[in-house]
């Protein structure tokens, strides 16, 4: 079976303009050979979910440093579920207090990467969950 190149959408929901972290992750994923779409800043959750579905991405990575991570991730996760796209793996990064990480996971955020996270670890994680997701959704057709 052919290995598909992971397809990733990275974006910033809401109004937060700090994108040092997300740009680092975008560069690291591209360096690792993945197909990464960076949607830039000031996206509504609706826009992000729409692009994620249109582009058939394996992973949607969102970054929030303004403190609005719970409401933003909650809205993205709800929209993914409502539109039958729960299979897209939702990851979050940014300025997130440790005690909010379990709350984000309860909202169906698969993993949370804060400022201490290493790029190599993020790349490995994204690769693994992308392959898993692709197997799950497209596995039968591809084999």
């Amino acid at each position: 079976m052919e290995k598909r190149i992971p397809r990733i959408l990275m974006g910033k929901p809401g109004l937060c303009g700090h994108d040092r972290g997300i740009m680092l992750v975008v560069m690291a994923l591209r360096d690792a050979g993945m197909e990464v779409i960076y949607s830039g800043r000031h996206n509504s959750p609706e826009q992000l979910v729409k692009v994620a579905i249109q582009e058939d991405v394996d992973v949607l990575g969102v970054s929030v440093l303004s403190g609005a991570h719970l409401s933003m991730c909650g809205r993205v996760a709800t929209l993914l579920r409502e539109q039958g796209a729960e299979d897209i793996v939702l990851l979050a990064g940014g300025f997130i207090p440790p005690e909010d990480i379990p709350k984000l996971k309860a909202l169906n955020v698969r993993e949370v990467f804060t400022e201490g996270a290493k790029l190599d670890d993020i790349v490995a994680f994204v690769r693994r969950v992308s392959e898993e997701r692709h197997q799950r959704v497209h596995g039968m057709a591809a084999s």
């Binding site: 109004l15 303009g17 040092r20 740009m23 000031h42 403190g67 005690e99």
Partner: protein, 557 residues
């Protein structure tokens, strides 16, 4: 001693310690920018023309400081950054800070305000009052400064894209207080170019954004001569990851772009340049490089202002700097060590001769600071100012072979980078092609890789880790009902005000915005009238968007 004799002596000394040098230089040591560092600096590393290259403080080119007697004349200003939640809470905090003798409080605004959105805008949902004070109309500004005299207070605000609206609020509020406008002091950040390239709080496309900036500076030159309408914020490049050379070159390129546009409007350089100042990052790492950075800034600014722009007023030639430590240099691991880091950052600023210092609090890595941490941060500055003796002698590191050598090196690197940007079509073009964004991202990537490979040490993060208790630290938590309250307040305002007057004022903004820019079509005047009619930040920005459109950054990263 002759230079040749010294060269021979240095070679002999090096030869005599050859094995030590072989060991110490086996692996190249560089500072953050990749600038190679020698193990020792000597008179051979510095220039021989003291008067031309360095000079005396208070005199051109101001390398050693803006004032002949440095901090003996006036200590730097302690400048905390504060403000959260509602205008009322912010007013209480400001009064408390003023009682502690801490002036000026720099006001943080929430993201909806900084992006020109009212609290009830759908895009504002979840962000109202979260990262700063929510300001929707003049009514909120009047609440924030209730009982605080605008004639006696320096009111600094970090606002960029809608800066003209906040400036207009300040003008109307001061007028209502009966203040003498020529004495009103304060600052809006108003450095829009770095929002496109670093911080991300942009609204309008580049050209109309510059028009608004020129309008505000022209207005201040005419009516608010004590107000500082532009704070060029190189620190935001550094926080986004730019190395020191890029931080300086991009900040200067933005500043020079503004100066050229303002002069093209017909405002004489000496009518506004003295009220421009810089906010630069002050790092605890690369301590001596930071000191050199501030010295280089004064030199580059003075030469350019005199030689390129014909400035004659010595106040225009003095580069005024706010040294600000940044959140990205602090750590959640062992957060108490952040006090040590900011102490050293403050020292770097003091040794560099800056005019204002703003330190982050130890708990800012967890959220909006607690009052206790804010007081520790102010106390940290008091310790550096009153216990170290650093302010007693001007430019105490001047003459250090190392610092003088760094000053020369950074000056030539920064000037080369400024020239490169100019040769490629200038800063506005560099914003639009995305080249500045890419340079910053590359710098950030290199720094991250160096950190992850252990080439750079962060205590508690990649070295000297200790197991810590995981007790949650949430310095300040916004009341969950605050957003709803703010939505209700702005909706009540729209019902209570004279909406016909507000609508007419907004129409006037649209009419003037459609006309070609110039002194006769300065948008400050209609914006001031709209603010006076209690039109909201969102409505005023919407009127401007109707004419100018919005900036779209896609395709530029």
């Amino acid at each position: 001693m002759l230079r040749e004799d010294l060269t021979i002596a240095e070679a002999a000394w090096r030869e005599g310690h050859a094995s030590e040098f072989a060991e110490a230089t086996a692996k190249p040591v560089t500072c953050e920018d990749g600038l190679p560092l020698k193990p020792l600096y000597t008179p051979l590393d510095v220039g021989s023309d003291y008067l031309e290259e360095i000079g005396f403080p208070g005199d051109f080119p101001y390398t050693r400081g803006n004032d002949a007697t440095g901090y003996r004349k006036k200590l730097w200003t302690i400048s905390p950054y504060a403000g959260f939640g509602s205008p009322r809470e912010t007013n209480e905090l400001f009064r408390k800070l003023i009682d502690h003798g801490a002036l000026p409080p720099y006001m943080a605004l929430d993201l909806p305000t900084q992006l020109g959105l009212d609290p009830d805008d759908p895009m504002a949902a979840g962000e109202v009052g979260l990262s700063g004070t929510s300001i929707a109309s003049l009514r909120d500004w009047e609440t924030v400064f209730d009982g605080i005299s605008l004639e006696q207070t320096f009111a600094g605000t970090v606002v960029n894209a809608p800066a003209v609206v906040i400036l207009a609020m300040h003008v109307v509020c001061a007028q209502k207080q009966g203040a003498d406008l020529t004495k009103v002091r304060g600052n809006i950040q108003n450095d829009i170019l770095k929002e496109f390239t670093a911080r991300g709080n942009f609204i309008f496309p580049v050209e109309p954004s510059i028009r608004l900036l020129v309008d505000s500076v022209e207005y201040c030159a005419k009516h608010l001569p004590s107000y500082w309408p532009v704070n060029v914020t190189g620190g935001h490049f550094a926080e986004a990851g730019a190395n020191r050379v890029h931080e300086l070159a991009f900040a200067f390129s933005d500043a020079f772009t503004y100066i050229e546009r303002i002069m093209a409007r017909g405002v004489p350089v000496d009518a506004f340049a003295k009220n421009m100042f810089f906010l630069m990052k002050t790092n605890h790492f690369d301590l001596f490089e930071e000191v050199a950075k501030f010295r280089v800034m004064r030199k580059v600014w003075a030469r350019r202002l005199r030689d390129r722009y014909g400035a004659r007023d010595p106040e225009s030639l003095k580069c005024k700097i706010l040294g600000a430590s940044g959140g990205s240099q602090l750590t959640r691991e062992r957060p108490e060590l952040n006090i040590a880091r900011t102490t050293l950052a403050c020292l770097a600023s003091a040794l560099g001769g800056v005019q204002l210092v703003s330190l982050r609090t130890m708990d800012e890595v967890f959220g909006i600071p607690s009052h206790e941490a804010e007081m520790i941060s102010i106390g940290t500055q008091h310790v550096v100012a009153y216990e170290t003796g650093v302010p007693d002698v001007t430019d105490p590191l001047g003459g250090s072979y190392y610092v003088e050598s760094l000053t020369r090196e950074y000056e030539s690197r920064v000037l080369a980078e400024i020239e490169r940007i100019e040769a490629e079509g200038g800063m506005i073009r560099a914003v639009e092609t995305g080249s500045v964004r890419r340079a910053i991202a590359q710098d950030a990537y290199q720094a991250q890789v160096a950190l992850e490979h252990g080439e750079k040490v962060k205590v508690g993060v990649n070295k000297f880790r200790i197991e810590e208790d995981e007790r949650p630290r949430r310095p300040y938590i916004l009341h969950p009902e605050e957003e709803g309250r703010r939505v209700a307040e702005v909706q009540a305002l729209r019902r209570e005000r004279d909406s016909t007057a507000a609508a007419a004022a907004l129409d006037e903004i649209r009419r003037v915005a459609r006309l070609p820019e110039g002194s006769d079509t300065n948008l400050m005047y209609p914006i001031i009238e709209a603010v006076r009619s209690y039109a909201t930040v969102g409505e005023i920005c919407k009127a401007l968007k109707d004419v100018f459109g919005e900036y779209d950054e896609r395709g530029r990263v």
